[in-house]
């Protein structure tokens, strides 16, 4: 394992620019980009303090960077429990505290044909890769996105279809009928891929790993896990791998969240 290299991150206080609902369960939180915010790479995340109206104790919440321009940092958040619900209530002009950017990003592979497979809110970092830095959608980067049903697609603000993103819904209410990994297999059948990226539910990423094994190509997956420090210090967020180096565990926050998926123990991954 070599010497530990601390994260290149800082604590920031940022103003909420807007906070709007995208679909039934998703909302888009836009934060004013602090002037000295380090340019993030796709797959990196920020650790956000939950604003508390009462004395409730909250750990920070990790969220992928969905977009980052000169002026704004965007997060797409799905309402799950009290933390995400409290963030949903943040209003324009409020101040949120967070630190970042954190973690290892998707690799930059300009010459490769990448098929990126996103499920649910897992679209966030894959969108960032394709639309900003460093990939270019259409130029060797194909983005596929699946959800359970039409209501769960959070699309209007990006109008993904027009930009060449392929969509799948389990119930066929929009786009390809079936799951997004089936769509990926069909798409690759037509034009081969050199590398797979994935971000989404563990079952989906596990299916992507099976596909990668069958095609004998690399797969980079972005994992989630409960976090304390998000800096590689507390060892709360570990996942089991086939690696050694004293321990099979690696941290999602600092060694990940994006991993070479072939090293992961897919059958033993914790469900956060």
């Amino acid at each position: 394992m070599g010497e530990f290299v601390p994260a290149r991150a800082h604590e920031y206080h940022a103003r909420v620019l807007s906070n709007v609902r995208l679909s039934r369960r998703y909302f888009l939180l836009r934060l004013e980009r602090p002037r000295d915010f380090i340019d993030p790479a796709a797959g990196q995340f920020v650790h956000v303090a939950v604003p508390t109206p009462d004395d409730r104790f909250f750990l920070r919440r990790p969220f992928s960077i969905h977009d980052c321009t000169r002026d704004a940092i965007e997060l797409v958040i799905v309402e799950v429990g009290p933390g995400s619900q409290a963030l949903r209530r943040a209003r324009e002009g409020d101040t949120l505290h967070f630190y970042g950017p954190l973690g290892h990003a998707y690799p930059v592979l300009p010459e490769k044909r990448i098929v990126a497979i996103g499920g649910g809110v897992g679209l966030a970092p894959l969108y960032f890769y394709g639309f900003r830095a460093p990939g270019k959608l259409g130029e060797g980067y194909r983005l596929l996105y699946g959800a359970r049903t039409r209501e769960d697609l959070f699309l209007e603000h990006v109008a993904l279809e027009r930009t060449g993103v392929s969509l799948a819904t389990d119930d066929g209410s929009y786009g390809f009928k079936g799951n997004v990994v089936q769509l990926a297999a069909a798409v690759i059948e037509e034009e081969p891929a050199d590398v797979l990226f994935s971000c989404g539910p563990t079952v989906m990423m596990k299916a992507v790993q099976k596909l990668a094994d069958r095609l004998a190509i690399p797969h980079y997956a972005s994992l989630e896990n409960r976090m304390g420090c998000a800096l590689g210090a507390c060892r709360a967020c570990v996942v089991p791998t086939k690696l050694d180096g004293g321990s099979p565990y690696r941290t999602v926050c600092h060694d990940g969240p994006v991993f070479d998926a072939s090293v992961l123990q897919w059958d033993e991954l914790p469900v956060p």
């Binding site: 601390p6 004395d55 104790f57 630190y99 409960r226 590689g232 210090a233 709360a236 570990v238 565990y249």
Partner: protein, 303 residues
């Protein structure tokens, strides 16, 4: 800014504010967010003789007023700590480091102490005799006054120029007796407290949320319990007490001085508020007399 330095045994610390064991790893991890050199020091993750992989995930569980953890003392082990981590710290003499150690037998404590004795780059050892997340031994050591005295003695004899802190468990009724035993064994301070033992259940599965069942409870919820243990220790011993447990604000920290502590450690709240330890330093330094006057005086048996 006044002088708020403190003396614990043979070592002078620039101020009484530390980060608790297990919270900030081996210190370097938090360097992006905390100016470590502004603190009295940091306590490392507990080191054991051999590396430990730790418990199966999930390892933390948030509750409305605190959190449960079941990390299981995952650490790089003594060799790698001494060969890799300590040299990294030697390049930062401005950071005060207390190394937390745990061992299963007296013999292991001797070996650990002998290994650290000739080393530089750290201020002292904090013995974790009180971790609830490993099987058997460790917690039992902390419950047994004879053993606490003996372990304190065999370690202190080997590191006379370093500060020796004994970290006690809150999961006993008579913490004063254990603190007194540590003092008799030659400890320089009592660090009180470690996590409380707790458990939570998943209503859907009907099972405990952690594979091991019980886990360590920490955070704001434990403040009054930790204060009470510090207060009891202060009545039992005359060596300094390092107060730990539930500190989430400057005022929480102040209460530990009222209970008789000479120093404090910030734990769980660092995750939410990494600026907290430095703010506590600033607040104390604004009025150094307050800290000195309150420490001990108010908690003495006569009071």
């Amino acid at each position: 800014m006044g002088d708020i330095s403190i003396q614990i045994g043979p070592v002078r610390f620039k101020n009484p504010v530390f980060i608790a064991s297990g919270i900030c790893g081996y210190a370097e991890e938090y360097s992006p967010l905390v100016n470590l050199s502004r603190l009295g020091g940091v306590v490392t993750k507990t080191i054991t003789m051999l590396p430990r992989a730790g418990n199966l995930p999930p390892r933390i569980h948030e509750m409305p007023h605190g959190m449960l953890n079941s990390i299981g003392l995952e650490n790089v082990g003594l060799d790698r700590y001494v060969n890799e981590k300590l040299p990294q710290l030697n390049q930062r003499p401005d950071v005060g480091v207390m190394v937390s150690v745990a061992a299963e037998t007296e013999d292991e404590f001797i070996k650990l102490a002998e290994r650290f004795a000739p080393m530089d780059g750290y201020a002292g050892l904090e013995l974790n005799l009180s971790c609830p997340n490993v099987k058997g031994e460790a917690l039992d050591q902390g419950r047994n006054p004879q053993l606490v005295e003996k372990i304190s003695r065999i370690v202190k004899e080997r590191i006379p120029k370093k500060s020796l802190w004994i970290k006690v468990t809150p999961n006993i009724t008579d913490v004063g007796t254990v603190a007194r035993a540590a003092e008799q064994g030659g400890a320089d301070a009592i660090a009180a407290v470690n996590t409380l033992v707790g458990i939570d259940f998943d209503l859907e599965t009907g099972k405990p949320v952690f594979a091991r069942g019980s886990a360590g409870y920490s955070g704001p919820a434990i403040l009054p319990i930790a204060l009470q243990k510090v207060w009891e220790c202060a009545k039992a011993v005359s060596i300094p007490i390092v107060g730990i447990g539930g500190i989430a604000t400057i005022d929480d920290a102040r209460k530990f001085f009222l209970a008789g502590a000479t120093a404090i450690q910030v734990g769980t709240s660092l995750y939410n508020d990494p600026g907290l330890p430095e703010r506590i330093v600033d607040a104390l330094a604004e009025n150094p007399e307050w800290m000195r006057a309150r420490a001990r005086a108010s908690a003495s048996p006569a009071a």
